[in-house]
Subunit: 131 residues, 2 copies
């Protein structure tokens, strides 16, 4: 952190930049936000990708014309949570992304969740409306 | 907010209490955290439940011996994001919960995501390790 703003403000800025630079395919810009030893965690598939080089390769090789828009960013000290609208072609999906930053403001861990749509179980139609 | 702490600190406390009181089945305690017009949103099933009474009924009727533990809480002004470890019997699942609070510190919107595990697509085994 540069000392001119509190950690939360800087974390919020970095979290937003992370998504916006990915969306722009600004690969050098993304790279400079990442700690060299960043860990990318996908708990749904129990996959870990270790290190900036491998994570950048994962991003640059990722198939499809994907797009990311920040719906909400919540920053708290050196942690952030991002709620994203994502799109690949006509396919929309929401994503939940958790970031951890080092003391010098680099992203050290990214945890991504990709929740799929599903049909609601029976028995709560009396409480819920569908949209 | 009571004015003795900043909004973020109070939001963090309320977000944590929300989960801990659900876990304890402290229904009066959960109720007092909720705005009367709270909206509970489940984007994966496109279900909305409107109002404290309906949302409390949803929670108290929810089947299974479910348990919730806060893994992380990220609070920022009147927004919070909760990363939960959930369990029903032996079934573990992570959850991502987004909260919005009113100016007087009541929860006005809860958005829950329940991301299911899935098998990773082929083609990234050279970058990822499984756990």
């Amino acid at each position: 952190m540069d000392g001119t703003v509190d950690g939360t403000t800087e974390t919020r800025r970095i979290a937003t930049e992370y998504v916006e630079r990915l969306e722009r395919r600004d690969w050098p810009g993304v790279t400079e936000l990442l700690d060299e030893n960043v860990v990318y965690d996908m708990p749904q598939t129990r996959e870990l990708i270790r290190g900036r080089a491998a994570f950048m390769r994962f991003n640059t090789e990722y198939p499809g014309d994907w797009h990311l828009v920040v719906r909400r960013v919540v920053a708290d000290g050196r942690f952030a949570a991002l709620w994203l609208d994502t799109r690949v072609g006509d396919e929309r999906q929401d994503a939940c992304v958790w970031l951890e930053l080092s003391e010098d403001g680099r992203i050290t861990r990214v945890t991504d969740y990709w929740p799929d749509p599903y049909e609601p179980p029976q028995g709560r139609e009396h409480l819920a409306e569908r949209y």
